[in-house]
C-alpha cells in the first residue's frame, strides 16, 4: 500500500450558528492513496461535504491536521494553500458549477489558467488547447467544444466538469455526489468514465455518495455517521 496523498488526522469542524456551536466533524481520521477509490458513504447531513472541503483546503479544520503527501498544510498562507489545491485536487460537484458565459472548451481551459501567468499562458496556448480538446474527446464531448453549459444536458455538463477537474493533472479527485443530479443510466455512464480515467492516471479518488450499489464498486468504503467515521 502506497503512502496517502491526502489525509485527515483527528480533524474536527465546528460551525458557529450565532452563539450555537454546531459540531459537524467530530475527530475524523481519513486517508486516500494514489490509485485508490474510496467511497465516502453516509446519510445527508453526516458531514461528507464538509470533510471534502476540509481535505480540499477550501475550509480549515477547527482542530486536527490535513496532510498532503504527509506534510501538514495548516501553517501555509492563503496563497500557498490555493496553489496546493490547484496542484493536488480536482473537484467534481453535484451541480457541476460550470461558468455559464464560457463554452465547454473555455470552462476546461480556465482550470489551467488559474495558476499560470499571462505570458506563459500565451506561449503555451496551443499546447494547452490541444490537451483540453483531447480531454473533452476522452469524455465524449469532442463535438461539443463550443457549446455553452445551457446548451448541454446534465450528463454532458458533468463530463465537462470532469474534464475540467483533470486538466491541471491533479493527484486526487474529490467528487461530491457527482451523479446525485443524474438519472441512473446517465449516472452509470459518468461513473464508468470517472473510474476509467482514474485508473488510466492512477489518481486517488474520493467519491461521496449515499448510493450503496455505487459504493460497492470502490476499493474501500468509509461510512460516516454524525461527523464520525464508522467501520
Amino acid at each position: 500500500m502506497t503512502a496517502p496523498v491526502l489525509a485527515a488526522a483527528s480533524v474536527t469542524k465546528t460551525f458557529q450558528l450565532g452563539r450555537q456551536p454546531i459540531p459537524v466533524l467530530r475527530g475524523v481520521d481519513f486517508a486516500v492513496a494514489a490509485g485508490e477509490i474510496v467511497a465516502l458513504l453516509g446519510a445527508s447531513g453526516a458531514g461528507k461535504s464538509t470533510l471534502l472541503h476540509v481535505l480540499g483546503l477550501l475550509d480549515p479544520p477547527t482542530s486536527g491536521e490535513v496532510l498532503y503527501d504527509g506534510r501538514a498544510v495548516q501553517h501555509l498562507s492563503v496563497r500557498e494553500r490555493a496553489l496546493l489545491r490547484h496542484r493536488y485536487v480536482g473537484f467534481v460537484f453535484q451541480f457541476y458549477h460550470l461558468i455559464p458565459e464560457l463554452t465547454a472548451l473555455q470552462n476546461v481551459l480556465l482550470a489551467g489558467m488559474m495558476a499560470t501567468p499571462i505570458l506563459r499562458y500565451l506561449r503555451e496556448r496551443s499546447e494547452r488547447r490541444r490537451r483540453a480538446v483531447a480531454l473533452l474527446e476522452q469524455v465524449g464531448l469532442g463535438e461539443r467544444l463550443r457549446h455553452r453549459p445551457a446548451e448541454l444536458s446534465g450528463g454532458e455538463r458533468q463530463r465537462v466538469a470532469i474534464a475540467r477537474a483533470l486538466l491541471a493533472e491533479p493527484r486526487v479527485i474529490l467528487a461530491d455526489e457527482p451523479t446525485g443530479n443524474l438519472d441512473s443510466a446517465t449516472a452509470k455512464g459518468v461513473v464508468d468514465l470517472m473510474f476509467s480515467l482514474q485508473r488510466q492516471r492512477g489518481l486517488g479518488f474520493v467519491l461521496v455518495t449515499h448510493d450503496e450499489a455505487l459504493a460497492r464498486r470502490a476499493d474501500r468504503v468509509v461510512r460516516m455517521v454524525d461527523g464520525r467515521v464508522v467501520g
Binding site: 480540499g56 477550501l58 489545491r85 480556465l110 488559474m114
Partner: protein, 446 residues
C-alpha cells in the same frame, strides 16, 4: 491569466457595461474638447493681448515725473531694446456740440468697449511708440480699408490747426460712421490750482480731427482707447511740461521678461519714489498688466474642469452600478474559482479588471474622439452653422479666423489618471464585496 480572461468574458456577454464605457468616454471627451478649446482660446487671447501691449509697461508714476530722467533710468537696463513715453488720460468722445450723457452702467461691456463713449486717451510719440510697441503695424492692418487709414502711417498724428489728430479703433470708426477728417471733441477734466490756492477739477475740451483707424487683435484695447500726440495732452493738461505717466518698453530677450520687469521696477522706484505709497512707479509685464482679463478666462477654464470632473464621477457611479449587478450575478462562480485554486484576492482582481477594462475602453474612446473633435472643431462649427444656423463660437468678437485648440499632453495625462483613479475606486467597491463572499456558500447552493 484567468482574471483577465474571465473579466473579458463577463464583460463581453453583458452589453449593459457599454453604459459605463460610453459614460466615461463622454466625460473624457468633454474634458479633452472643452479644455482644449479654452486653452487654445487662452493662448490666442494672450497673443492678441500681447500684440496690443508693450512687453513691459511702467506706470503708477508720481505726478510730474519728467521723461528725460526716466528714459535714462530705463535705458540703463541692458535688456531694454526701446522705450516710449505716454501720457494716459480719459474722457468722453463726441461730435462737436453733441455731448452725450454718461453711460447708464459705466464699464458694463468694458471687455470689448466700443458701445460707450467713455475712453482712455493715450498720448504717444509715434516714432518712439513704433519702436517700443506694434503701433506702426496697428495703423496698416490689412483689414483697415484704404479710406479709413491714416494718410501717412509714418507720421499719423499730424494736427490740423488747433484740432489735434486722433486715431480711433476700427470698430468704433465703423460703428459711429467716422472717416478721416471728421471733427470730434474730447471732453475731460483735470486738477488745477485756483488763485486762492485750492485744487479743483476744471473741465477741458480738446478739439480733435480723425486721422485714421487703428486695429490690434485685442478688441478690448481697440474699443477703449484713442491715440493722440503726447504733446496735445501735455499742452491741455499739464501746461506743456515734459511730463510722462507711462513708459512702454520693448525688451531684447523675451525669455528674461519677468526678471527685466522686476529690475525695472526697482530702478524706477529708486529714481522717482517720493514717498507716495500709491505712486512709487511700477514696471509690469504685459501679462501682469492684463492679469485680470487673462485670469478671468483661466478661471472659467478651471470652473469648467470642475464641472466636467463631476460628470466623470457620475459616469464612474454608472459603472459602479453595472459592476455591482454583475458581482451579485457572479457570486455563483466564486465557489468554483476557489475550488480550482483561486484566492479572494484573485476574485477581487477579476472584478477590478472588469472595471479597469471598462475605464480603459472609455478613456481610449474619449481621448481618441476628443482629440479628433478638438482639432476639427472649426469644421464641426461650420457644419453646425450650415445645418442649424447656430454658431458655436463667435469668432469675430475675438478676432479669430478659426476655433482655437490646444491639446496639452500633460492635461491628457491628467485626464487619463483621473479617469483611472475614479474607475479604480468605483470598481474596488464591488470587487471587495465579491472577495468577501464565502466560496462555500456558492458551492453548497446550486
Amino acid at each position: 491569466m484567468y482574471r483577465l480572461f474571465l473579466a473579458l468574458r463577463y464583460l463581453l456577454t453583458r452589453p449593459i457595461n457599454l453604459l459605463g464605457v460610453f459614460g466615461i468616454a463622454l466625460s473624457v471627451w468633454a474634458l479633452v474638447v472643452v479644455v482644449s478649446l479654452f486653452s487654445g482660446f487662452l493662448a490666442v487671447i494672450a497673443r492678441h493681448v500681447h500684440g496690443a501691449s508693450a512687453d513691459v509697461t511702467v506706470s503708477g508714476l508720481p505726478p510730474g515725473t519728467g521723461w528725460p530722467g526716466l528714459q535714462a533710468e530705463l535705458r540703463g537696463e541692458t535688456n531694454v531694446a526701446a522705450v516710449a513715453p505716454r501720457v494716459v488720460h480719459y474722457g468722453l468722445l463726441h461730435r462737436p456740440g453733441r455731448r452725450p450723457g454718461p453711460p447708464a452702467l459705466p464699464g458694463r461691456t468694458a471687455l470689448h468697449g466700443g458701445d460707450q463713449p467713455f475712453l482712455f486717451v493715450l498720448g504717444v510719440d509715434p516714432a518712439a511708440e513704433s519702436q517700443a510697441t506694434g503701433f506702426a503695424g496697428w495703423l496698416v492692418d490689412p483689414v483697415i480699408p484704404a479710406e479709413l487709414r491714416a494718410a501717412d502711417p509714418r507720421e499719423p498724428l499730424r494736427d490740423r490747426g488747433d484740432r489735434a489728430a486722433v486715431l480711433v479703433g476700427l470698430d468704433r470708426m465703423r460703428a459711429e460712421g467716422l472717416r478721416p477728417g471728421d471733427e470730434l471733441v474730447l471732453t475731460t477734466g483735470t486738477m488745477r490750482d485756483r488763485e486762492d490756492g485750492a485744487r479743483v477739477t476744471a473741465q477741458v475740451q480738446i478739439p480733435l480731427v480723425v486721422a485714421g483707424a487703428f486695429k490690434t487683435q485685442h478688441g478690448g484695447f481697440d474699443g477703449n482707447n484713442l491715440f493722440v500726440g503726447i504733446e496735445v495732452l501735455r499742452r491741455h493738461l499739464f501746461d506743456g511740461a515734459s511730463v510722462v505717466q507711462e513708459a512702454a518698453v520693448r525688451v531684447a530677450d523675451p525669455q528674461d521678461l519677468d526678471g527685466t520687469a522686476a529690475r525695472l521696477s526697482r530702478a524706477v522706484q529708486r529714481a522717482v519714489d517720493r514717498g507716495d505709497q500709491r505712486a512709487r512707479g511700477i514696471a509690469q509685464t504685459w501679462r501682469q498688466k492684463n492679469a485680470g482679463f487673462l485670469e478671468s478666462v483661466e478661471h472659467q477654464r478651471a470652473l469648467l474642469k470642475i464641472v466636467l470632473v463631476v460628470i466623470l464621477v457620475t459616469a464612474a457611479f454608472l459603472m459602479l452600478a453595472t459592476l455591482s449587478m454583475m458581482v451579485t450575478e457572479k457570486t455563483a462562480d466564486i465557489g468554483i474559482l476557489a475550488a480550482m485554486g483561486g484566492t479572494p484576492l484573485g476574485t477581487t482582481q477579476v472584478f477590478l479588471a472588469c472595471g479597469l477594462t471598462i475605464t480603459g475602453a472609455g478613456v481610449a474612446l474619449g481621448l481618441g474622439t476628443g482629440c479628433i473633435t478638438a482639432v476639427y472643431l472649426e469644421e464641426v462649427r461650420q457644419v453646425l452653422r450650415w445645418a442649424t444656423g447656430i454658431d458655436l463660437f463667435p469668432l469675430e468678437v475675438y478676432n479669430l479666423d478659426r476655433v482655437p485648440w490646444h491639446l496639452d499632453p500633460w492635461w491628457l495625462l491628467q485626464v487619463t489618471l483621473m479617469a483611472f483613479a475614479t474607475g479604480f475606486l468605483a470598481s474596488a467597491l464591488p470587487a471587495l464585496r465579491a472577495a468577501r463572499h464565502d466560496p462555500l456558500v456558492s458551492l453548497r447552493n446550486a
